[in-house]
Amino acid sequence: MRGMRTAPAWRPRARATSSALLLATLIGCAAPAQTPVAAPSATGHGIVAEVATYQLVANQPGRLLVAILTGDNLWLSFGSVDVSFSYLGDAAGTPPPEAAAAARTVADATAQFLPIPGSPEGGDRPPTLTVPADGRGVYAVESITFPAAGYWQVTARGGLDDGSKFSSDAAFSVLAEPSIIAVGALAPHTKHPVLDDLNVPPVAIDSRAVGGKPIPDPELHRTSIADAIEAGHPALVVFSTPVYCVSRFCGPVTDLVAELATEYRDRADFIHVEIYQDFQKGLVNQAALDWLSTPGGDLREPWTFLIGADGRIAASWDTVVTRGEIEPLLRALPIKK
C-alpha cells in the first residue's frame, strides 16, 4: 500500500471506545484544526454520522452539515433530526478543564434535510432510510456559532419512519481563523482559463471535456472571476471537478449553477472553475489552489461563492448547496448594467 499505513484490525468491542480513541488521537495531534474530522459512531440500524462541512470558524455563524448513513449504503433522508454539541478540546489537543468545557456550550438545534440537487426533497416525510436513488442529502443547521476553536462533537438523534430511534456522534474541528476566503472579504481578481483560451486544453477548463468532447455549459466558461469583478458584476462561482470529484457532490452542484445561469444571467455572471489542470499528473489549476488550498495544503471540493458587485464575498457554501439557498440572493440582485 503506497502512501498510507495499514489500519489496525478493528474488533467490535472497540466500537464502544471510539470516542476515547478520538480524544486520544486528537490529544496526540498537534496539527492545526482542519474540518472535518471523521469520528463516526453508530447506534441502531448501523447508522453513522459524519460532518460534511469543510470550514467552521469560531465566533462566526456558519452552516453545519451532517450526513447520516448506514454501512449498506442507505441514506437517512427527509424531515429533521435533533443535534446537540459538546466541546472535546482545543486545537493543540488539550482536553478542556471541566469548567471550561461546561462554559463552551452551544444550544441544541434542529437540523433540516437538505437534498443533494436532483434528489427528492421528501415533502413532509419523516426521516427515512433510503437507497441513493430515492433520497440523498445531508442535515443542515443553517446558522450556528461555536464559541471556541478546537474539536467538537455533534450528536444527531431522531426517530425513523419505522418508529425506531437512532443516535450517532461525529467529531469535527472549528478553526480560530478561516482557512478559505470568508464572507465579507475582497475576492481575489483571479484570471483563469475560459473558452477563448485556445492554448489551454479543454479538459483543464472543464473536466467533462475529457476525450475530446466539447466543453459543456459554455455559459459557465465565458468570463473569468477577474473579468466579472472588474466589470462590477456579481458572480456565482463554483469550484468543482465534475469528472474527478471525490466528494460526489461536484456534478449536482455544477448542474445547479448551470441551471441558475440560464435563469439569472441578467443579474450575475456564472462561472465554473475546474479543479484539475491534469488529473493524471496531479496538476491542480492555479485558481483552485489560490481559492481553496488551506495552509495545511488541503483542498476540498466543491465550493460555491457569490461575489457581490462590490467585489466582496457575499455568501459561500461548501459541499452541498441548494437552489433554495442561492436563488433568493440572486433574485435580490439588480439587473446587470
Binding site: P36, A67, G71, N73, P132, Y244, G282, L283, V284, G297
Partner: protein, 145 residues
Amino acid sequence: MSLRTRASLANRRSPVSWLSPAVSFALLLSACSSVASPSSGSSLPTARLSASSSGLCQAILALPDMAVTERAFINVAHESLHALAADPRLDRSAAALVLETMARVESDFRASTASPTLAVDLAALRTSTDAALQALGEEVPGCAA
C-alpha cells in the same frame, strides 16, 4: 494561466471508509499529518469495492430497462466506484479511467432520451472497474447472464 505542480497533490486520493472505525482512526492520524493533499471532501460510506463490479453487472443485465438499470447503477455501484477510484493504492491513470468512463455513463443517464451508447459505456466502465479491482488484488465478481 499559471499552473504549478504540487507533488503532494498528486496523491490526492485518500481511502475513506467511515464505516470502519479502524479506518476512521487512520483518517484521524492522517488529519494530524502535515503532508498536503486535496482531501476527500465529504467522506461518504463505501461498500465493498467489488460491489462496483457487481452493481455494474446488475445494471448491464437490466438493459434495456433504463429505470432498473439506473437504479442498479446508483444504488449498488456508484458509491463503490468512487471508493475504488479514491483508493490510494490505485494508479492515477487507472483511477482516471474509472472516473472518466463513469462520467460517460452518468451522462447517458442524464440524456432526455435513451442513450444509444449506454450499453457500450456500461461495458467500458465494467472493464475499467474490473481492471482496477484486479490491480488492487480485490475480488472481481463474475457476471453471468
